[in-house]
């Protein structure tokens, strides 16, 4: 050979090309190659690399870091803490110190991490469909054509954005802003204007409430304050002993929501009937001597059916009996008049200043500036020069009568910044990708006004600008990064002027980002009282609204989806696959109808129905929901997207916005239904809601519980057995779940999916019964009463799955976990057959191929499972072992409450408690010792480590005589 003999580091191919090969040499090289392969040598790369020697002090590869930031939805911020592995955010948890979270999160908040890694994210700035660049767009934004500038963006509470908009208004006179929120709270603020003369914000303090009345208000599930309110409510709902008296909840609503499912007395009524009920409630309070304003004559003519009147009277009595410790909450869908009456009701029962406080609105310009209708009219009249649509989708999420798409096309310059290319992109010249909140700097206010910071955990994956940076470009501040833009206005606010100003600011800035929010910035309570008399505008509204309806046709109650909200999360596969709280429906919405209506119209589940409202029609599959009001049908918004660039969202479900009237009101008063002959197969995870007398989800009334506290006796305690009871030493892990405070919100389901790399199977997979969720919420309905029962691996001490596995792939650990050894599983699925709880999941296909950017979300501490392997809840064993390792390094024992499972951490109410049986002072252990604790399928002898607390209801004796079943 003419060159030196090949070193082990040189790739064999290089050698072969360099050298003139003769037969003997070839054989030598071949032999060397085989020797190399045998020695297990890796091909060293051709260039030199150096190991990571000078690392940052806080960064240890393999150990995650946590950063505080905030999630903002429809303008309200919730503080979260995000886990980051090697610079890659993987998991979202609530910020335990933030007032809007207190550690809990909603399903949407948990799922938002997946949107960061969505493979369908917009990546490229485009002008008229051709690739361009952010630099060119910024240039264009700095040099707008003549004509007014209109901004369309979601409601904002950000001081930074408010400052930028003010600057834009200065630089561009005639600027109008449309705060676009299809599920917005305009009616609530207008109601406050009726009552107080100003758009005040309602702050609930449910820790002081004995009676709560929800008027079409899903305050525990979908409302903007739900995460915090659910925690406070649960604190008053959970019983430690039979002598405790839980808060009593009344609800009136058409469709069963998490709030309604927990209500002690739920009135199923169409949404348009809530205002008459509120009016009647106010007048009943007046009749009982409470201070109420004089009501117009139309209020007296409100004739409620006797059953409703009885309900209203009982509620009035109860509110008065607990004056100062009661609260009435009105849902955002209700008209302003109802919100206004709610304020007078709260004033009448002494709630104001106690359980209900009023503060300045968290949102900037809560009553809005311009509306979408104004935008459409101005665009058609040629009175808009530039329209910048940022982080919202008005072409999709608006009444069809406004014809937003045509309106935008008429505008000379349109810019659309969006996370994914959507319906609005089609109508706009410029389409720019938008940074995800985990990639962006910013600030916002929580519902109570607390200033919350948004800090990025990762550089924008596609170099996308954030909303703040785009607004800055419009304000003439091009070239400044989001961080610089945020720091500037906060300098004077965080530090006092003086010699050590810079150091003081840096310290304060670091502390603020570390906490994620500024403590003490909650808006102060205002000593507001409603006016003594109803304002004329309100009286006019009441006259119109309370007049008897022209016909008593069905009402269509449109609602935000607990999964995709107003459609902005439609491309999030986790949320699409999340079984909805009452219907367990996935990958679609449906027309939700009462069983009686379904029988009357002969609708089977999935029958396609034509809904007609005026000249607007829509075809939707029907689904019967026990407990839905007759006289009303519900359809969730956010589906029926026409977005070919979002394959997960495209064509899934039906578009409820098509039925929205020009006023954008979610309550559509009169619709006609006609069944077509077609049937669509709905993908639902739970098909049977009846427990067939098997006593699986126990519930009791408070008085029965007090009379017989041990009523769950048959479902707990030792069982006779021929088999020896295994003795185990050391920490023994277990879980207790209180079904009294489980609202069915399903945040735990998404949290588990995020933590444990649980794959998505798609609509067809769910239809076939192959949903992969390790944790599911079982619902059992008895006489329209619902109990939500989170069902996960029970980690049975005598696990039936363990003895049937032929290869020891599932075994029992010394600390009580039922272990799953993925590498050993051959996939016989006998364990699934033998699990009576049916909590085991099988990988029917390789759900992780083809690999997309979504794989970046995977938790590196948890195996990604192969095809053909069983999987199930592990009690978050990675967190248990992580805590044990940490404890061992610090030479101490694992502390009580140190290990928190993903589901426990996400739960807004704290219904799920995990811990060690030896830690007697933890809620997990104390709850199991309550007399109402029980095990599911106890008599099978599986000895599950997960125990449940029976759901205790607190019915009002005055209303209770026909409901002997809780």
């Amino acid at each position: 050979m003419s060159s030196p003999s090949p070193s082990l580091a040189e790739p064999l191919t290089d050698v072969l090309t360099r050298v003139e090969i003769r037969r003997r040499d070839a054989l030598k090289l071949l032999g060397a190659g085989i020797a190399l392969a045998k020695a297990g040598c890796m091909q060293a790369p051709g260039e030199e690399v150096l190991p990571y020697a000078h690392k940052m002090p806080e960064l240890s590869p393999g150990a995650p870091l946590w950063y505080a930031t905030s999630i903002v939805l429809d303008g309200y911020a919730t503080g979260v803490v995000v886990e980051s592995h090697e610079g890659r955010p993987t998991k979202i948890e609530g910020n335990p110190a933030h007032p809007a979270s207190l550690g809990g999160t909603s399903a949407i908040q948990q799922a938002s991490i997946l949107d960061l890694y969505d493979p369908d994210r917009a990546r490229v700035v485009e002008l008229a469909g051709m690739p361009s660049s952010w630099a060119r767009l910024a240039e264009q934004l700095g040099a707008l054509p003549p004509g007014p500038l209109w901004l369309v963006l979601p409601p904002q509470s950000s001081p930074l954005v408010a400052g930028l908009i003010a600057r834009i208004r200065e630089g561009h006179p005639g600027t109008r802003v449309v705060y676009h929120a299809p599920l917005g709270r305009g009616a609530a603020y207008r109601g406050a204007v009726h009552a107080f003369g100003a758009p005040l914000e309602v702050q609930l303090d449910l820790t002081r409430a004995d009676v709560v009345v929800a008027l079409d208000a899903d305050l525990l599930g979908a409302m903007h304050g739900a995460v915090r309110w659910a925690r406070d409510f649960a604190a008053r709902r959970h019983l430690d002993a039979p002598t405790d008296t839980p808060v009593r909840l009344y609800a009136i609503e058409p469709m069963v929501t998490p709030t309604g499912s927990l209500a002690d007395h739920r009135l199923a009524a169409p949404a348009r009937d809530v205002l008459p009920v509120a009016t009647a409630l106010l007048s009943e309070l007046g009749r009982r001597g409470r201070p109420v304003p004089p009501l117009p004559p139309v209020a007296a003519s409100v004739g409620l059916p006797p059953e409703r009147l009885r309900w209203v009277r009982a509620v009035a009595d109860d509110l008065i009996a607990h004056a100062g410790r009661s609260a009435v909450v009105v849902g955002d869908r209700q008209p302003a008049a109802c919100h206004a009456l709610g304020h007078w009701i709260n004033a009448a029962v002494g709630a104001l200043g106690a359980t209900v406080r009023l503060t300045a609105a968290a949102l900037d310009e809560p009553l809005g500036d311009a509306t979408l209708a104004d935008l459409a009219a101005a665009a058609r009249a040629g009175q808009i020069g530039t329209a910048a649509v940022l982080d919202c989708n008005p072409v999709y999420a608006s009444p069809p009568a406004l014809a937003i798409e045509a309106a935008l096309r008429a505008v000379p310059l349109t810019v659309h910044a969006t996370p994914q290319v959507d319906e609005t992109s089609r109508a706009c010249q410029w389409t720019a990708p938008l940074a995800h909140y985990l990639e962006a700097w910013g600030d916002a206010r929580a519902l109570d006004g607390t200033v919350s910071f948004v800090q990025p955990l990762i550089r924008p994956l596609y170099g996308a600008p954030s909303t703040v940076e785009i607004l800055a470009a419009l304000a003439g501040l091009r070239g400044k990064t989001g961080r610089a833009l945020l720091r500037e206005p906060w300098r004077p606010r965080l530090a006092a002027a003086g010699p050590a100003f810079d150091q003081a600011f840096e310290r304060a800035w670091t502390a603020a980002l570390g906490d994620g929010f500024l403590a003490g910035t909650a808006a102060p309570a205002l000593p507001a009282t409603p006016t003594a008399a109803l304002p004329a505008a309100l009286v006019a509204e009441l006259d119109r609204a309370l007049a008897p309806p022209a016909d008593d046709r069905l009402e269509l109650a449109l609602a935000g989806s607990p999964a995709v909200h107003d459609g902005r999360f439609a491309d999030n596969a986790w949320l699409q696959e999340l079984p909805q709280p009452m219907t367990s429906l996935t990958w679609s919405n449906a027309l939700l109808v009462s069983p009686r209506l379904a029988d009357r119209l002969d609708l089977a589940d999935g029958t396609v129905v034509r809904i007609r409202s005026g000249d607007r029609t829509l075809l939707a599959p029907a689904l019967r929901v026990p407990g839905h009001a007759d006289g009303s049908v519900t359809l969730e918004l956010g589906y029926g997207r026409r977005a070919p660039d979002q394959p997960i969202a495209d064509g899934v479900g039906v578009d409820g916005f098509a039925l929205l009237g020009a006023d954008g009101a979610l309550i559509v008063p009169a619709v006609d239904l006609a069944a077509t002959g077609q049937r669509r197969r709905l993908a639902r995870t739970q098909l049977e809601l009846d427990d067939h007398g098997r006593d699986l989800a126990l519930a009791a009334r408070l008085d029965d519980y007090r009379r017989d506290p041990d009523f769950t006796r048959e479902h707990r305690g030792p069982l006779p057995s021929l088999l020896p009871v295994p003795e185990r030493t050391g920490l023994q892990w277990a879980m207790t779940i209180d079904t009294t405070i489980c609202t069915g919100c399903s945040a735990c389901v998404i949290a588990c999916q995020a933590e444990n790399n649980v794959p998505v199977v798609g609509a067809d997979g769910v239809r076939r019964g192959r949903a992969m969720h390790w944790l599911r919420i079982d619902r059992y309905v008895a006489r329209e009463r619902v109990v939500h029962q989170p069902m996960l691996c029970q980690h049975c001490e005598m696990a039936p799955c363990e003895y049937v596995c032929p290869v020891y792939a599932t075994s029992h650990s010394p600390d009580g976990l039922n272990e799953m050894t993925y590498n050993r599983c051959v996939g016989t699925r006998f364990c699934s057959n033998n699990c009576p709880y049916k909590v085991r999941r099988f990988n029917w296909f390789n759900y992780n191929r083809p690999e997309t950017t979504a794989a970046l979300q995977h938790n590196p501490d948890v195996t990604v499972r192969d095809r053909g392997v069983m999987e199930k809840c592990t009690y978050c064993v990675q967190r248990i072992r992580g805590a044990e390792i940490q404890a061992r390094m610090e030479r101490r024992d694992v502390r009580p409450g140190e290990v928190v499972t993903a589901c426990q951490q996400a739960c807004p109410t704290g219904a799920i408690q995990f811990g060690a049986l030896g830690h007697a002072d933890t809620p997990m252990v104390k709850w199991r010792q309550q007399p109402r604790a029980y095990a599911v399928l106890h008599d099978l002898g599986t000895r599950p480590r997960t125990m449940y607390l029976a759901a205790i209801r607190n019915p009002n004796p005055a209303l209770d005589n026909d409901e002997d079943e809780p």
Binding site: Q686, L687, E688, L689, D690, D691, H692, G693, R694, L696, G765, R768, G769, R770, R776, D778, R779, Y780, M791, P800, Y803, V804, C805, P806, V807, Y808, R824, C825, V826, G827, T828, R829, F830, S832, N833, N834, P836, Y837, K838, R840, R841, F842, N843, W844, F845, N846, D866, R867, G868, V869, M870, V936, L937, L940
Partner: protein, 458 residues
């Protein structure tokens, strides 16, 4: 020999040994008729379909089947149990009837034993194929692995692995042993040199000496003795795949005897299904007589009644236990839940059909026997569907209740195994003497001897 037996013989006529041999070996020497070729082509096509679907399943995942949670076992295990059950009749005929000295077994025992072997091959595909990771199937066998882990023997699945392997091995040995003298005969009368070498290799040098026959007898008896308990044990173990579980509808102590009875039941039905056309096509009605068919029918009646007893006991115990899940399973889920048409088909096919055989005329009617045997096998397949799929559809937690529907892959694999079985069987019919020549000659001699003795000195 009684006059009645003479009127209903198991060997018609009094052929000479030469005639008998020629008739029985003619099946091997003859060309395949058109019917055989068509049947072979169809079987071949189905076999290709089977292997295509197997490759598809292994490459893509069990998701191409209709299984789900809770119905994690469906067609794969139904087919497995069905085929294994069918095999039991062969061993029953070869071994148990041999030990009980039932001479009517002689003409059908090799045929039936081959049926067993081919049925076990079909069955054996499924414990491998239904695995999520079939390339690790060998972990169910006890071998000294570097992982230091042995199979978990409290589970019935390693028992299955052992049982099926044992069953196949013993059946193969038994069948082959019986073939050896006939292979030697084929070697000695082979028309071509190639065939002579082929049969000669297989005949293992058999020369037919008295010593050889003595060893042969002893070996045959021993293997029959080993095979006999397999008839009971193999399907008992297969039934324990279900009986050790706690699923309502599975957790039943009657399963082992109930399954064994059902296995012999379906096996004899399959024997009839195969033997009726074969004896007609190959003109062997004198060797496989109506008496044989009648005796099979009698056994069908007996085992059918045992199966009916099994159903009755299950229902009684489900009711008597008072367990809500069991009662729901038997009184609501199976008769009125999803798939209930299969349940009613099962009852009709399994309980009603064998009642025909109370009538002597009907159990000697070849057409009736053929149709009934097919219905019985359909009924037995339906029984496994009811036990496996319907039980899993309605378990303890109603939140997990869900139906099941097979996919085209499931149906293709089932049809494919029927095709593969037929392929093997048709090949066997052509290549090897499917009636045991040597044993038939022995039987002929015994019958002639008895005949002469009966007639007495002339």
């Amino acid at each position: 020999m009684t006059p009645t037996a003479a009127a209903d013989p198991i060997l018609v006529g009094a052929p000479t040994p030469g005639e008998l041999q020629d008739q029985l070996l003619a099946t091997t020497w003859g060309q395949g008729g058109r019917g055989w070729r068509i049947a072979f082509a169809i079987a071949g096509a189905l076999t290709l379909l089977l292997f295509g679907c197997i490759a598809y399943t292994v490459a893509t995942g069990i998701g191409v089947w209709g299984n789900n949670v809770p119905v994690a076992w469906a067609f794969g295990i139904i087919n497995f149990v069905w085929w294994i059950g069918i095999g039991h009749a062969g061993t029953f005929i070869s071994a148990i009837l041999y030990l009980l000295e039932q001479r009517w077994r002689t003409s059908i025992n090799r045929f039936a034993e081959a049926m067993t072997l081919f049925a076990v091959i079909q069955a054996g595909l499924f414990p491998l194929l239904h695995l999520g990771r079939p390339w690790f199937a060998y972990w169910l066998f006890p071998y000294p692995s570097v992982m230091g882990v042995w199979p978990q023997v409290r589970s019935a699945l390693p028992w299955d692995a052992a049982a099926i392997t044992t069953y196949f091995t013993v059946s193969l040995l038994f069948w082959f042993l019986g073939l050896v003298p006939d292979l030697a005969t084929l070697r000695d009368h082979a028309p071509t040199r190639r065939r002579r070498i082929l049969y000669g290799l297989l005949a293992l040098g058999w020369r037919g000496s008295a010593t050889a026959w003595r060893h042969y007898r002893a070996a045959y008896l021993i293997l029959a003795g080993i095979a006999t308990p397999l008839v009971v044990s193999v399907h008992s173990i297969v039934s324990s795949d279900f009986a050790i579980g706690l699923t309502p509808g599975w957790h039943s102590t009657i399963f082992p005897p109930f399954f064994v009875a059902g296995a012999i039941y379906s096996g004899f039905a399959m024997v009839l299904t195969l033997v009726i056309p074969t004896r007609a096509a190959f003109r062997l009605k004198n060797v496989i007589t109506v008496r044989h068919l009648e005796l099979c029918a009698c056994l069908l009646l007996v085992t059918g009644l045992l199966v009916a007893y099994g159903y009755t006991v299950e229902y009684f115990i489900a009711w008597y236990s008072g367990d809500e899940a069991e009662r729901y399973q038997f009184f609501h889920g199976r008769p009125f839940g999803p798939g209930s048409f299969v349940f009613w088909a099962m009852l009709a096919c399994n309980i009603l059909t064998p009642q025909l055989f109370w009538s002597r005329r009907l159990r000697r009617n070849v057409r009736v026997l053929f149709v009934a045997s097919i219905l019985i096998n359909v009924g037995m397949w339906a029984e496994r569907f009811v036990i496996i799929v319907q039980s899993l559809q309605r378990e303890y937690l109603p939140s997990g209740w869900r139906g099941y529907a097979p996919t085209w892959v499931d149906l293709s694999i089932l049809a494919g195994t029927l095709g593969f079985f037929s392929l093997l069987f048709l090949t066997f019919l052509r290549l090897l003497p499917f009636v045991a020549v040597a044993e038939m000659k022995e039987l002929r001699a015994e019958l002639a001897h008895e005949d002469a003795a009966h007639r007495g000195p002339a």
